[in-house]
Symmetry: C2
Subunit: 113 residues, 2 copies
């Protein structure tokens, strides 16, 4: 579920948690990126891959699961203030909003260290 328009997060966010791009085959896409980039696979299944680079993570998502998006590191309170909280398989909690031009922006709370 995506919330259009305004949201209030209190303190403004400064760090991008991940970028997500859409691919139709997670396994093939992970192979493509690993062959060319020095990244580490944090998570992989049939519908989602998560690659760690030095300064950010790259999510590989399948159409219908998630849109392509950019995600900013947030506290749980900031996520909850922006809209209905979704819990994800890796323990994160987030909300999807859209910017004025239709780009999907996720605010994500990641409890992992």
């Amino acid at each position: 579920m995506e919330v259009e328009g305004q949201f209030e997060t209190g303190e403004r966010l400064t760090r991008m948690h991940h970028v997500a791009v859409t691919v139709t085959d997670i396994s093939e896409a992970i192979a493509w990126y690993r062959q060319r980039f020095a990244c580490r696979v944090l998570y992989q299944d049939d519908s989602w891959g998560f690659l760690k680079f030095d300064n950010i993570n790259l999510a590989l998502v399948t159409p219908g699961q998630h849109p392509s998006h950019i995600a900013f590191t947030s506290t749980f309170e900031q996520v909850a203030a922006a809209g209905p909280v979704q819990s994800h398989r890796d323990g994160t909690q987030s909300v999807y909003i859209k910017d004025e031009h239709g780009n999907s922006v996720e605010l994500i709370h990641d409890p992992s260290p």
Copy 2:
């Protein structure tokens, strides 16, 4: 110009330089992101905006100028090895390739400190 398929960069790349999303009005988009995020405007004109976050930059691009893409920090030699080098208005040099699923991936050499 985008080069399909294979490229050789020698040492594999580890750092994402920026993410670019498409918007139709740069000025409005910069206002939207600055209102919500603690980012700094590095560059702004009618067809391109560049915002600095703690760990990465966000490019705002207009349709037809550039596709939405992810860009990885590269040496000039790595850019040149991957395809025809394009020089950009901010002094960077890059090449656009595509992953196997049609996502645009830029290799960029940024000579700024």
